[in-house]
């Protein structure tokens, strides 16, 4: 089969499987045939051992092109991931092995603090839930649409399963974003922080807690996602829309506000508590600023 022929046939296959509206959308997209070829090519390069008929994959893809956004999805499609998911749907042992090594192996690290035995359990349930179908329903992995990395999609399911398996308290602890942590994240390796007296630390944490409470939900979430969960500015831009500089400014503003609030909280307390807090306030106003700026890429 020559390349020329295949190009034509893949696009033809896809056209045959999509609805008339989707077809119109795809036709309007310039170079959609080549795009399709590139996806298939990339998938086959990454998964040479999989024996997935092109027709099966294209039919699978057709199911995941949403009406109205078919062309957009084609552009950002995670071809190799969708290809693997499709092969897993059919129960191909090589695909299952690939899924194990390429996807599942990375899940434990992404679950962070979840205990190793629980992670094992999560992995087991992931396998059951994603890879096993019944006589009339395909395995759930078939519902993966290739719109984001498969690893992301699986990890999110894994996180949900982990939450289900945990007790309420345990889960609460796991997902907690305590201000102590924020305080430490804000000043990661500051020796002065290590030297702070316990009561001063408490005070700092308390002030942070109050300061965080005053921020708007959005500001709070941005700070948490960025500083606590490590989301990059690029990622936040994707999630929140708008320009990168716009999001970066929002985060920076929230941080400024937070610091201002902490300062306001601390200043009167220092008079009252007669604690040796000078260094603490210094820490907040100068060092913390620096470390924050460092984190704001």
């Amino acid at each position: 089969m020559s390349d020329e022929q295949r190009t034509g046939s893949l696009a033809a296959l896809l056209r045959a499987y999509v609805s008339p509206e989707q077809r119109a959308e795809l036709e309007a997209e310039e170079g959609f045939e080549a795009l399709l070829d590139r996806h298939v090519e990339a998938a086959r390069t990454q998964w040479p051992a999989l024996s997935l008929p092109a027709e099966t994959f294209v039919r699978h893809l057709a199911r995941h092109l949403p009406v109205g956004r078919a062309a957009e999805v084609m552009r950002i499609l995670q071809g190799p991931d969708l290809y693997l998911a499709c092969a897993c749907t059919s129960g191909d042992p090589a695909a299952l092995k690939g899924f194990e090594q390429h996807i599942l192996r990375h899940v434990p690290a992404r679950l962070g603090k979840v205990s190793p035995p629980l992670v094992e359990e999560v992995l087991q349930m992931l396998r059951e839930r994603l890879l096993v179908g019944s006589s009339n329903t395909p395995p759930r992995i078939a519902s993966y649409g290739g719109r984001g990395p498969l690893r992301t999609w699986v990890s999110i399911i894994a996180a949900r399963i982990a939450s289900e398996l945990m007790g309420q308290d345990e889960r609460h602890q796991l997902v907690a974003e305590p201000p102590e942590e924020l305080a430490r994240m804000l000043a990661p390796s500051d020796p002065e922080y290590a030297l702070l007296r316990e009561d001063a630390r408490q005070l700092l944490v308390e002030s942070l807690r109050k300061a965080v409470a005053v921020l708007s939900e959005q500001e709070r979430t941005l700070l948490r996602l960025h500083h606590f969960h490590g989301f990059t500015m690029d990622r936040l831009t994707l999630m929140y829309g708008g320009s990168r500089s716009g999001v970066a400014r929002k985060v920076a503003d929230a941080r400024e506000q937070l610091l201002e609030r902490v300062r306001m909280e601390l200043a009167p307390r220092m008079k009252q508590d007669q604690l040796a807090l000078e260094s603490l306030l210094g820490l907040v106003s100068s060092r913390l600023d620096i470390s924050l700026l460092g984190l704001l890429d």
Binding site: G112, P116, S143, Y144, R147, H229
Partner: protein
């Protein structure tokens, strides 16, 4: 909150694929949902690997910060760094113990796989328990690394130890111990693979531990050529020796067959062990080589270097070492055991092998049994841990919560939150320790594990008793929830020293009945803590009957003691006394030293303090001291602390303040050292010391101590706990004495608010607070308010303590003061006389406690111009105070000043001056020169000088008095301050210096304002001021 978005929605959010409207909706949810934020972080893979202080992804490259938290561990101290990683001392928050935490940083491409293997391997190692092996507690992942927590051995490494030449016998002893550790591991199927002097530790007690089984190999293998099994992976020996540490661990100790790629077994450990032993004995390793090749070649050919130092080592030892160093594994001893037997000293030679063999056979038998029944045992242990449900099942937790909230008290939600947090943590710790004890109930620590289990089960009754009481919580119980939670005994003691912690255990046939009774006793304890004495009495009365047929003496003693304690709580010290003696005799018969000591302590209180029988008390004290001595001061910190507390309190009650102080100091030092930081015993002793200081007239010290006690109690009990009333009251009283008037009033108001909000406001601490606030109101001239509060206090005291109690005397005296201020002289006289008669009736005609009503009556007489009667009463009061506190006791000031006033009124100026001077000396000696009393003494002298016409001398005295009185802004007593201002105005005017005239007029004006502010109280003085003003202004 709407339900969480589906995985595809979240994936699309991360990829930026949601429509504008949908995005806004999902983000709005994410903002309110921590679960979703965490899930998103898992999705993008930026999840912080643990609550690390470092940014994600950097966890590996930096050392841990002190205070960093990994799983349930908090890093405290860096102990050292090795080739494999850094070792820290860390606290295990869950089990409350200090552990060594080793952070491993595997390098290489297949980190993740390696990490998994390390985890698996380490989990297997965690099962190995032997006195000569460092116990591995826990393994966890941290970022790309792995951390291990293990037994913290304080001491040094064998490598350090070997740096000095040691006697060969000592070397041999140490190595035989290490060898036993290796042998035990071999018996469990584990091979060390990297035994070397750096991997053995010598504890401070001389015990030897082998550590790091198998782990080094996993790490280094990764850095070598292969991550397959070593069998298939011949390592090409290359590089200089100084650098080869990176290639293959420590090649000097490694058996030649491992270099050839063969699988490690017991005999390769034997080889490493012999290399190290050779080095320790002779000062040099047996094989030498410049490069890896040379070294390996020497070992393979068995070419040994001559010893560096000539040591007289028995031939059998040399022979054994040489055989252990054979190049071929099959030429060495077949097992570590046989090597150790060959090394062991001759007198034991026949004995030791036998011994060793049986131990190992025993261990193997147990290990085999463990292997077979491990699953069953795990299940069984899970069931054991499930017993917790009797104390803190979700259902009971919910019932307790409902009961808390149903009280409707304002602090109930807060109290519930605190209590549930403490209980959740406490019970989780119980489960962890109980499971651990159950799993360890085999092997050579079985006995201890069983004791631990029994001890923990007893603690569980306590927990159950507390929760049972709280299930029926009323307002008062909720109020005491913190104390109840704090009364739960620590669990860690059960593991560390179960033999010392548990009560005598009954024979099997009585077990269930004794357990049932002890369970009820735990309930009594809970009742006692929450002051539900009647409920407690019902339980102990029933128990008295129930245990009769049992004939188990230790229990009998426990029941008598509990019954007596409850009676004591109900204010029946005489009845209680009888039961304490019963408890004592039963405990003596049972040789139960703990209960004996507790009974003596209770008797000190019941006989010495409550029934005031001093002669008997002295004997009881000796018995109690001896009992605690016999028990061991350090063994039961609560008993030892209690001894000091009781004795201090008794001495204080007897007025022996120096002895009381000494006891309090000793107790405090002990309590700080031995009781947990959240123990109420420490603040209680600080409080006690504060009372003593106050009694000594050292008010600044007293204030400091009471503030400290208050802060500690507040931390332990919560800020809104009515139990703080006593502390606030004490802080206020001491504040007042040092002139911090505003602080005093605010502390009392706080105390009043706390008590009013509590379930039963009409308690004796409330009476005290009311009485003190009555004094404040009186001084401020609000006499009706003062009277109503004092009356309420008097009613509380009379109801709680009978009509003759000293607190009632205080209330009557305060009422007399109020009447006197109000100008109701006859009524005041009646009240003071009433107080005097009552106190003499209850405490005898010569009691020093009569000084207060006598002083007040004397002042009333003075005011009425009945100078002879005033003189008689005041001198009587002075005599009593001198007798109790000595002629220079701080309290005498309160009588010396009215005596000076009396002398002045009778124109005996010289005598007046003498009294004033004496008052000044007394206040200075008590450290209160700057106190209100000190100011009054100065004003007193100033007034006399003014009367004598030596106004130049009066001025500096009055200036100083005024400065003290006004130093805190608001004055304590506007009448007194007004009077001083007026005296100063007069003195200044009389010095005739013209610049002082304006100031004198201003001061008089100030005096007028102050005196007007206190209404009827300041009337007579005010009239004098107004008259003076009219005269001077018009001049």
């Amino acid at each position: 909150m709407q339900s969480c978005p589906q995985e595809t929605t979240l994936t699309d959010l991360i990829a930026g694929l949601l429509s504008e409207a949908h995005r806004a909706q999902v983000l709005a949810h994410v903002e309110t949902c921590a679960d979703c934020r965490w899930t998103l972080a898992a999705g993008v893979g930026t999840q912080a690997p643990s609550s690390a202080p470092t940014a994600p992804g950097e966890a590996n490259s930096q050392p841990l910060l002190l205070g960093a938290r990994l799983s349930r561990y908090v890093v405290r101290e860096c102990l050292g760094a090795g080739a494999m990683g850094i070792v820290y001392a860390a606290d295990d928050l869950e089990l409350g113990r200090r552990v060594a935490l080793k952070m491993l940083r595997p390098k290489g491409s297949q980190r993740e796989e390696l990490q998994q293997r390390l985890l698996r391997e380490a989990q297997a190692l965690a099962r190995l328990s032997h006195p000569n092996v460092v116990t591995l507690y826990d393994v966890g992942a941290y970022g790309d690394g792995v951390f291990l927590t293990m037994e913290l051995v304080e001491g040094t490494t064998l490598a350090e130890w070997m740096k000095e030449p040691r006697p060969w016998k000592e070397v041999l002893r140490v190595f035989l111990e290490a060898g036993k550790g290796l042998a035990a591991a071999h018996a469990a199927g584990l091979v060390h693979r990297d035994f070397k002097p750096a991997n053995a530790l010598i504890g401070k007690d001389g015990r030897v531990f082998v550590t790091d089984f198998g782990i080094a190999r996993l790490l280094h293998q990764e850095e070598g050529a292969s991550h397959q099994e070593p069998m298939e992976a011949p390592v090409t020996p290359t590089g200089r020796l100084t650098r080869t540490g990176q290639v293959l661990g420590t090649p000097a100790y490694i058996a030649p067959e491992l270099v050839r790629g063969q699988r490690a077994d017991a005999r390769s450990d034997e080889f490493s062990f012999c290399v190290a032993l050779h080095e320790a004995l002779f000062g040099a390793r047996p094989f030498q080589g410049e490069t890896m090749q040379e070294l390996v070649l020497a070992a393979q050919q068995g070419r040994m270097s001559p010893p560096k130092r000539e040591v007289k080592v028995p031939a059998r030892v040399r022979r054994a070492i040489f055989r252990g160093l054979s190049p071929k594994p099959e030429d060495r001893f077949p097992t570590m055991q046989s090597l150790l037997a060959a090394l062991a000293p001759p007198p034991h030679r026949r004995l030791v092998p036998l011994l060793v063999t049986t131990t190992v056979a025993g261990a193997m038998g147990i290990l085999a049994a463990y292997g077979m029944t491990a699953q069953r045992r795990d299940d069984g242990c899970a069931r054991e841990a499930e017993k917790l449900a009797v104390a803190w099942s979700p259902a009971r937790r919910e019932r307790v919560r409902t009961a808390f909230l149903a009280t409707g008290m304002t602090y109930a939600p807060q109290a519930w939150k605190q209590f549930s947090t403490v209980m959740d943590a406490h019970t989780a710790q119980w489960q962890a320790l109980r499971t651990e004890a159950c799993l360890a109930a085999t092997g050579d620590t079985a006995d201890q594990a069983r004791q631990t289990a029994a001890c923990l089960d007893a603690r569980l009754w306590q927990i159950a008793a507390v929760t049972e009481v709280l299930e029926k919580a009323d307002a008062q119980t909720v109020q005491n929830a913190r104390q109840l939670a704090a009364s739960l005994e620590g669990l860690v003691g059960c593991r560390d020293t179960p033999g010392l912690t548990s009560r005598p255990q009954p024979p099997d046939n009585l077990r269930s009945r004794v357990h049932a009774a002890r369970n009820k006793l735990a309930q009594v304890r809970a009742h006692l803590v929450s002051h539900r004495f009647t409920d407690g009495l019902a339980v102990t009365s029933a128990l008295l009957e129930e245990q009769k047929g049992l004939g188990y003496k230790p229990l009998e003693a426990e029941v008598f003691l509990a019954h007596g304690t409850v009676l004591g709580g109900l204010n029946k010290p005489k009845e209680a006394e009888a039961f304490f003696y019963q408890a004592l005799w039963a405990a003596e018969a049972a040789r139960d030293d703990e209960t004996v000591a507790r009974a003596w302590l209770e008797l000190i209180w019941a006989v010495g303090e409550e029934q005031s029988r001093p002669d008997e008390a002295e004997k009881l004290i000796r018995h109690a001291r001896a009992a605690v001595e016999r028990l061991g001061r350090e063994r039961f910190p609560d008993i030892t602390t209690e001894l000091h507390t009781r004795l201090s309190s008794l001495r204080e009650a007897y007025g022996q303040l120096a002895e009381a102080e000494q006891e309090a100091h000793q107790g405090l030092e002990f309590s700080r050292r031995r009781n947990p930081p959240d123990s109420l015993r420490t603040p209680n002793l600080i409080h006690q010391l504060g009372r003593i200081r106050f009694g000594q007239g050292r008010h600044e010290d007293a204030l400091k101590l009471h503030r400290e006690a208050l802060a500690l109690r507040e931390r332990i009990l919560g800020a809104d706990n009515p139990a703080l009333v006593t502390s606030y009251n004490r802080v206020a009283t001491a504040s007042l004495e040092v002139g911090r008037y505003a602080e005093a009033v605010s502390a009392w108001r706080k105390a009043l608010a706390l008590q009013e909000a509590s379930s039963d406001p009409e308690t004796t601490p409330m009476g005290t607070v009311l009485l003190n606030l009555a004094v404040v109101s009186r001084v401020a001239g609000r006499l009706e308010e003062a009277r109503s509060m004092a009356e309420r206090a008097r009613a509380i005291f009379e109801r709680a303590r009978g009509p003759h109690h000293v607190t009632v005397i205080f209330a009557l005296s305060a009422l007399a003061d109020i009447s006197s201020d109000a100008g109701q002289g006859d009524e005041a006289l009646g009240l003071a006389t009433e107080a005097l008669e009552r106190v003499q009736r209850s405490l005898g005609p010569d009691t020093p406690r009569a000084a207060l009503p006598l002083t007040i009556r004397g002042q009333v007489y003075l005011k009425a111009g009945r100078h002879a009667e005033a003189r008689r009463d005041l001198l009587d009061a002075l005599q009593r105070l001198e007798k109790e506190h000595g002629p220079e006791g701080g309290k005498t000031v309160t009588v010396l000043l009215p005596l000076a006033e009396l002398a002045l009124a009778t124109r005996a100026s010289k005598e007046a001056l003498a009294y004033c001077e004496r008052a000044r000396k007394v206040t200075e000696k008590a450290g209160g020169a700057e106190s209100p009393d000190g100011a009054s003494a100065l004003a007193c002298a100033g007034e006399v000088h003014l009367a004598l016409g030596t106004s130049a001398e009066a001025v500096p005295l009055l200036e100083r008095a005024r400065r003290i009185q006004t130093q805190w802004g608001e004055v304590k007593d506007a009448q007194v301050a007004g009077k001083t201002a007026f005296l100063l105005a007069r003195a200044l005017m009389e010095t005739r210096a013209s610049p002082e005239r304006a100031r004198a007029l201003a001061l008089a004006e100030e005096a007028r304002t102050r005196l007007e502010s206190v209404g009827v109280r300041g009337q007579s003085e005010l009239q004098t001021v107004l008259a003076w003003q009219r005269r001077e202004v018009n001049r």
